[in-house]
């Protein structure tokens, strides 16, 4: 059972992702904005993330590169809009493998009873961009096993 909920509605160029973390909001915010912490969690374990720049302020630029075990490099960059705070981080996001397809990402942090709900809304320029991003932008060459159709339909009903 996945704790990270991802919703991609048909026909709408958005992906909404929510996840609860067992930590206070300020700490989760630090993990999202301090490069030395970010590289310790962003991406699956077999990817190595290197932060090129992470200028966490209004108009500040960010860029990181992820390397897979085969040595392929994937660069990502963007700009922060408004001063990032534990209330919200607003930033653009562009995968360098598909330049020109820019997405706008808003991440909010809501603390309740010692846990923090992180909600990220990714807005794409078009539905085709969103579908393409999911299909290729986070490409890892993972070979997915076939899933049983009934489980799949159950999930689609929920999603």
């Amino acid at each position: 059972m996945s704790k990270t909920e991802i919703t991609a509605e048909p026909g709408i160029p958005l992906i909404v992702m929510t996840r609860d973390f067992d930590a206070p909001r300020d700490l989760v915010f630090r993990a999202y904005t301090e490069p030395q912490l970010l590289v310790r969690w962003l991406g699956p374990r077999d990817l190595t993330t290197t932060v090129d720049r992470y200028d966490v302020r209004d108009g500040g630029r960010w860029r990181y590169v992820q390397r897979d075990p085969e040595g392929n490099e994937h660069g990502f960059h963007g700009v922060f809009h408004g001063a990032p705070s534990p209330e919200a981080i607003v930033q653009t996001f562009e995968y360098e493998g598909v330049p020109g397809h820019v997405m706008l990402e808003t991440t909010t942090f809501e603390e309740r009873g010692g846990t923090t709900l992180v909600r990220t809304v990714s807005s794409f320029q078009s539905v085709a961009d969103r579908d393409g991003m999911v299909a290729s932008g986070m490409e890892r060459g993972v070979h997915e096993g076939d899933e049983r159709l009934c489980e799949l339909l159950a999930r689609l009903q929920v999603g």
């Binding site: 996945s2 704790k3 990270t4 991802i6 991609a8 509605e9 048909p10 026909g11 992906i15 992702m17 996840r19 973390f21 067992d22 930590a23 700490l27 989760v28 630090r30 993990a31 912490l37 310790r40 969690w41 962003l42 991406g43 699956p44 374990r45 539905v127 085709a128 579908d131 393409g132 999911v134 299909a135 986070m138 490409e139 890892r140 993972v142 997915e144 076939d146 899933e147 159709l149 009934c150 799949l152 339909l153 999930r155 689609l156 009903q157 999603g159």
Partner: protein, 115 residues
């Protein structure tokens, strides 16, 4: 899968009646009358849903005597699942790592040696 085909599949899956039809077809082929039975909608309405599913490649249709049989085609569904599963896996694994990191940072704070 091409993005436009993905949109067709998503569009077809967006409707609860069509998802219920697909679920029914996992049990085997069915006629329009059989598919319409559990719903409070007319057979022509079911036929319209079947056309959408057929256009998305989710079902194929054949004839047996005077009845039209619908049959589930699983491949596009598998492709859609793979599409989201890869993205889901990326974030699942990232967030599990973040869980571990947050736990380590809090333990370090409590131990008095802040990172």
């Amino acid at each position: 899968m091409a993005a436009d085909r993905l949109s067709l599949v998503f569009g077809a899956l967006a409707d609860p009646t069509r998802r219920a039809i697909l679920t029914r077809l996992t049990e085997g082929e069915a006629t329009v009358a059989e598919l319409a039975a559990p719903f409070r909608v007319s057979q022509p309405a079911i036929s319209r849903h079947l056309k959408v599913l057929e256009a998305a490649g989710l079902i194929s249709r054949s004839r047996r005597a005077t009845a039209r049989l619908s049959r589930l085609e699983a491949e596009p569904l598998r492709e859609v699942t793979t599409w989201l599963a890869r993205y889901q896996r990326f974030w699942d694994e990232s967030h599990e790592r973040l869980d571990d990191l947050l736990a380590a940072l809090q333990a370090a704070d409590q131990g008095g040696h802040n990172e």
